[in-house]
Amino acid sequence: MPSTPTEPDDYRIGRVQDTLAHELNELDVTVTLTGGGAFLTGTVTTPDRCAEITEVVRRELPGVEVHNDLSVASLAEPDGAEELK
């Protein structure tokens, strides 16, 4: 059920994060509600996940501008090795 604008922000954020966990199994997105909209931060594994997360947050926070500041983890090979002494 989408949150309503009359709810305190804490409850709306809690509901969005609960929905992200259940629908997308995504536990590592931070949702910050500000006067300028909802800002999403964190690192996810694929660009597709970024889009899916944004879509769910927009649905759960109707009328709120959603800013996707998520990062996608790199799968580059390591630059070198760390020697443990």
């Binding site: 199994n25 590592d28 964190g42 690192t43 996810v44 594994t45 694929t46 597709d48 990062s71 983890a73 790199s74 799968l75 580059a76 090979e77 390591p78 630059d79 070198g80 090795a81 760390e82 020697e83 443990l84």
Partner: protein
């Protein structure tokens, strides 16, 4: 010298075919051992495990590959099937167990356990009160005991001269730096570090804390590395143990 490649939290979905395999192509030239510290799948579905097993099968055929499961791998209650899928693909899943491999004249032992939460000194749960609270902390204490026993077996039977503890949850706070302190009790437990320090080890590898930091140390002086994919921001990291 033993070269250990490690990663965690790849969160493979059924739509992830082909995403990881190319990035492991050169791993066998860079490492002697590959450790995956949990959350191989997104929801713990057998179909997700099958996809990830295909992504790993080439590298696992060339380099000994060990894994522990993480909380995501338990989500659908199919963790036993998920573990079997990986085992069948040559990725040995450890849960309260250990195994050894011979590398460069060294016998390397890996003891693996998922671990669990509970928190750290001064801010941790105890087995007190409601059954749910006792079960929560009791589970951590139980699996930490398995870890200690596995590491001790590697030492007392003299079967390994290098010992690595592989887990999903963190044994120390240092590798959680960056996460909100309020959630530390859900990210790890000092009981895991205590088990490592009692039994002894040369390296601890874990994941789970996506917003944490890579490097830490147990109170007893054992290297700890958080290899969660969002933390290392590479397909894997490589750690060198021992003198060349």
């Amino acid at each position: 010298m033993i070269r250990v490649a490690a990663v965690a939290d790849v969160h493979c979905g059924v739509d992830s075919a082909g995403r990881f395999r190319p990035h492991y192509e050169h791993l066998p030239e860079q490492a002697d051992l590959f450790l995956i510290a949990g959350d191989l799948t997104r929801r713990g579905l057998a179909d997700e495990a099958l996809v990830m097993a295909r992504e790993l099968e080439d590298v696992a055929a060339r380099v000994p590959t060990f894994a522990v499961l993480g909380n995501h791998d338990y989500h659908c209650d199919d963790q036993a099937i998920v573990a079997k899928v990986f085992d069948a693909a040559g990725i040995q899943v450890l849960e309260g167990e250990s195994d050894t491999v011979e590398i460069d004249g060294h016998r390397v032992g890996v003891a693996g356990v998922k671990g669990f939460g509970g928190g750290f000194a001064g801010a941790c749960g105890t087995e007190f009160g409601e059954p749910e609270m006792k079960a929560f902390v009791g589970h951590t204490r139980k699996v930490a005991g398995w870890l200690e026993t596995s590491l001790l077996e590697l030492a007392t039977r003299d079967v390994a001269d290098v010992r690595i503890a592989l887990m999903h949850y963190s044994p120390v706070e240092a590798t959680l730096r960056g996460e909100r302190p309020e959630i530390y009790p859900f990210l790890g437990s000092y009981l895991l570090a205590e088990a490592v320090d009692r039994a002894g080890a040369d390296l601890v590898v874990h994941g789970h804390a996506h917003g944490g930091s890579e490097k830490g140390v147990t109170p007893g002086g054992v290297h700890v590395r958080n290899v969660a994919l969002p933390v290392i921001n590479h397909a894997y990291n490589v750690y060198e143990l021992g003198q060349q």
